[in-house]
Symmetry: D3
Subunit: 274 residues, 6 copies
């Protein structure tokens, strides 16, 4: 592995010449953390998803010696916008932001761009289509990847958590507690959850890491959300713990590290255009 | 159930006054079939995904007495565009098409709009974000749903198929054979498949209905696709049969019918705005 | 003439390898049928314009051995959107759809793209500007053409019809009767028409195939349309007949066939860029 | 008729309070002249189409006492852009410009907006779709009309001119000579013309005011145009005369004046929304 | 200096071959005058800013022998749109118009494009970002410059005027009086002005050419503007004079002429890409 | 003054209910820090402009008890994109991001939105036009303001610095040293500067806080920038000091605090719509 001896993994903390020195290596990997600012129930901070992306990005970057761009604090969360503090980009705006950032990175010769999404699922349509189209049309020589807790912890989550996890639940609250304990309001933890069976008739699953029904995706708005979960809690957070947070977080950092290793050795067809 | 006595379930075959008569009922459901025109390996027709959407839409519409719009033959398939016959809309274009159609339907007082996507997965970012944003910003009084074989047959698929199913595989080829047998080139069935482990290092699953790895989404282009599957076959199609096709198709029609029934009785908060 | 021995003229019914085999010839012509889903008075189906495009495309394609893309069922019809069943794309959306499809076709090396518009006139602004700009800016090596009943039957129409023809009139209803007789409600034929002189003061002509006034184009909305033609009939349909439909349709197929022949032999400057 | 006693018909020459005083009347008509800056052969100025729009607008406005906006000098002319001096807006840009101007006019309570297009035909897709969509979606209370020499002089043109007229021909050169004689280079008049039969095989007519073929629209680019008419002359201009120009121009002013009169008395459904 | 012997400096008054002859020189400079149509108080015409741009462009072009495009009469003035006669383009529309015109000019090999903005300040965001992005992304071989009275007369203005100048004030009214005396309503001159201290608390300066406060930009709408200046006058115009107008105008023409001279001799890095 | 007793001024660190409690007051002020990620010469970090915005926002927010949104790390910097580490949004993208965030804030009833721009000048076109259009068209009840060091320190800067300040100069490097000393590479401070007179002929000023020439704005690209300042330093940074940084920073915090005070007491017409 190429040695990494810059004073920070964050581009915003480096001079351009330091970034330039990193680009002399062959494996020019960069991580882009993408978050969201949105309600996370009575106990979680509005920036939770961004903190998830930042923490994952920073920990894997330090462990593997790769650079990160500054985080994007804003994601695609229209269904939360009836709750104050939610600041959502429109899907098209988010696509443009990702495209602009990726074009700059590619111009500087980064050739492996890994988006880390902290906003489980909901940012993925914008992120994956933005980079898919860019890779097809403009940047064949860049390998793009999109990482998300939903996939990184697909099976591990079930071993760690006790309750269904959808939004503002046990796992992500625990992860915050582990990494940023001052951001959790421990006196506001809750057993409140959304009865998906009742609201969505068994067609939409209430545990993003659990077995899903043979379903149909039913779209809800933020106003409707306030009627079926006035507190914004979709999943019980009361059983959170720093230990669970650590297990969940470190599992993902480990899996991401394996991915970075694979990227470094990868010689296949993806992203290999001249 | 309200009686349905129009000469067709397809709006394109009805006069506007016939459509208007349907809108006198309380449950003003409409189905929008969305397909794709893209390569489906040596044995499958380019329009396969659209035929899937059309067949599902028509069968459930006839069974439950609801209307369908004409199909959209074009979807979001940039990763197949290096294969002749693939006609892909850009993600943003598809979003606009869905939005325009939905706005017209809502203006005519349809209040439950069910998109049926025949293009497993790949159209979903455009479809779900288009209707999610529309529901949030403009059409709170419409309930939107998006149905997709990936979810409708989530567990059933595993009981029916023998091999991994990604694209142009046993299940969708069987479904075609069952519904449109003349569209399958039986002499071109194949055992060819993509070795996902080899190409994507175990981070991307090769069976959309099977257990998925703890993964990272790796983006590939159509040019790259032609290098790792020159025939366009991702999954073996040789073991297809009309019986499998029937089991797969009828399972989904049944599940969609249950959904229509649920929609008819639904009194919850979604889509209930004045 | 190059022999055509594929099982269908429709790309959606062919495998990509069959489409590829067609592209080995020198004259790589493709037809794109563009319709509309909109009210066509008490007797005509909402999909009439799309059926016109499909029937013209299929008949000329079979006669001359060229390929067709799947049809676009949706066109640019804002002035009909107050009538249920009308599903109109915004002008900009239609331009984008045409552009996306044309770019894909050009990428696959089709070099003569013929749009057949079934929606007399109203789609033309979007269609002609979309391909004009594409040809100027991106695809100089493709010859684009746009065919429309208004021009194909410019003089013949007058010999066939007895009454003024604007929308939902004798000619297009006859054409449906000839090609898709089950789609016409014969008990709903009508003598109703719009008195253009009265509504538009002699500045807008009421017969699209007749002599036009020295005029000014006056724009009307769908709501206004419902006031001046509550049934949606602009032109009398009562004198329709399958014979008139045959004469009208076959005239256009013949003229389109002459055009395909001319295209095959064409060696001039248009679309000849390297 | 309401008296008009402002010092100019041009909004750009009036104070806002003068414009405001005009808006106290019931018939709040405004004319928007839309031109083009593009090659007009060896004898005609690049601004010819804009001068046509300006002259028509000013003469009818003075005769009937209505206001005009400043002219738009730029139109939609991609097919001329290989000739220096051509300054073409993209179709979408022109649509946005028209929309912005119309929205401002409507906000100020103008309720009849007449676009006068000097660029025969080629601007019409952008102009008519822009105002059609605006009238349908946002401004039901405004009557929009689009006037164009092609329609205003549809039959009169044939009585005045001796030769086919397509672009830079006898009629529009004569009109310039009549209104702006210093803009015509009399020593560069030409008999050059484009042999449409030869270039377009009889599917595209070479006389915009003459009988048209049963045709198909064939799209050409500006580069191709330079090959089939290196001088930019589509139609012979040598027989131009100020008398022909006067007859042509005054005929159109007269027809436009009749239209303004009709607008003033109009009580029908168009543009009558509250 | 290359000799200039064309009959006009305005492209709209020249044939394309005359424009072409100009392009044979090495310094292919072109001026684009950009104005605005907006209220200018009780004494000034709505087109004032466009007349400023036209007069500056024409005078410098004649003096230095360079070409001008036709003027754009419309600018970015949302904050004036509550006053009749204001016709504002949206910022994005103006950016597109500038981009389209610049692309055409560059295609014709103009290599120095000077925008002259008559609308002090308010058009600058659209103009500068449009050409900055174009120069960065598409047209590295063109040198773009943007001239504005605010900068051209930065220090001279203070020597000429007696009163604060913001909008519709002494300087621009004087300039009109000097160049287009018939456009000023001398009986409507006014001492009215906006008390910026009172409205904006000392954070926004009321003299665009005077010392500015340590400030914060406070955004106001056109409706708000009508409350704090019902007449539209921001600055006193009563002390205007043709002499002041001449001093102000000729100072700017002189400075622009120096700039053209510098451009002609310039050999530096800007706009020098192959 | 209303008491502020939330645990943080940053929305990302608060729960939605804490944000909601803040919105019970009458003066619902929020600060949006907007930065940039771009080269800042050999001694400054790429994120310098974002750190400026963050530090100003946080310090004034804490002093006056108002909330801040998370920062936007990306700005409009095309002219720096040839230097690695620069991550620039396109102007239109930045406008959309600001618009989306502002719409969310307004929906939550924030009624005074103060953008603090750390990227001196270059972000302003996007920021001011975005909020100006939003205030005019959609959000008349919100008062928008845009603060920028260029204006906040307009005269004070001259008293503090010794050398011309354009980009990466003495003042902003000093400000970093004062607030984030670890981000400055003290061994890379430089006396390098851009000779504006030589590059831009005296038409563009090299000191953003100094007297400006009677000028013309000349646009340069990032590639050109690398030729005239290979290190990216526009202004000497060698004389920086924490004392200068403190004086500069605290002056701006003080001025912003005065602005917040004024906003709280403001009863004028701006942002007062129902």
């Amino acid at each position: 592995m190429t040695e990494f001896n810059l004073p920070s993994v964050w581009i915003q903390e480096l001079t351009w010449q330091e970034v330039d020195s990193y680009l002399q290596r062959e494996d020019r990997i960069v991580i882009v953390p993408v978050g969201s600012t949105e309600q996370h129930g009575p106990a979680g901070p509005c920036g939770l998803d961004a903190y998830v992306a930042i923490a994952l990005a920073e920990d894997v970057a330090r462990r593997k010696g790769v650079l990160c761009t500054p985080p994007l604090w804003f994601g695609d969360s229209p269904h939360h916008t009836a709750f104050p503090g939610t600041l959502s980009l429109r899907t098209e705006t988010l696509m443009l932001v990702i495209r602009d950032i990726a074009r700059n990175l590619a111009r500087h010769r980064f050739n492996r761009i890994v988006l880390i999404n902290g906003h489980k699922g909901s940012n993925l349509p914008a992120l994956t289509t933005a980079v898919r189209n860019l890779h097809e049309e403009e940047l064949p020589g860049v390998l793009f990847a999109v990482a998300d807790p939903l996939h990184l912890a697909r099976s591990a989550a079930g071993r760690i958590k006790e309750r269904p996890e959808h939004h503002a639940g046990e796992l992500e609250i625990s992860q915050m507690l582990y990494k940023y304990p001052e951001l959790i309001r421990k006196d506001r933890l809750t057993e409140e959850w959304v009865d998906f069976e009742n609201v969505f008739g068994g067609f939409v699953g209430g545990d993003l890491f659990g077995p899903a029904p043979e379903g149909v995706d039913i779209i809800w708005s933020s106003r409707e959300q306030r009627t079926f979960t006035p507190s914004g809690s979709f999943s019980p957070s009361a059983r959170m713990s720093a230990e669970k947070g650590k297990a969940y977080h470190e599992h993902m950092v480990e899996r991401l590290s394996e991915f970075i290793d694979w990227l470094r050795g990868y010689k296949g067809p993806i992203g290999g255009a001249a």
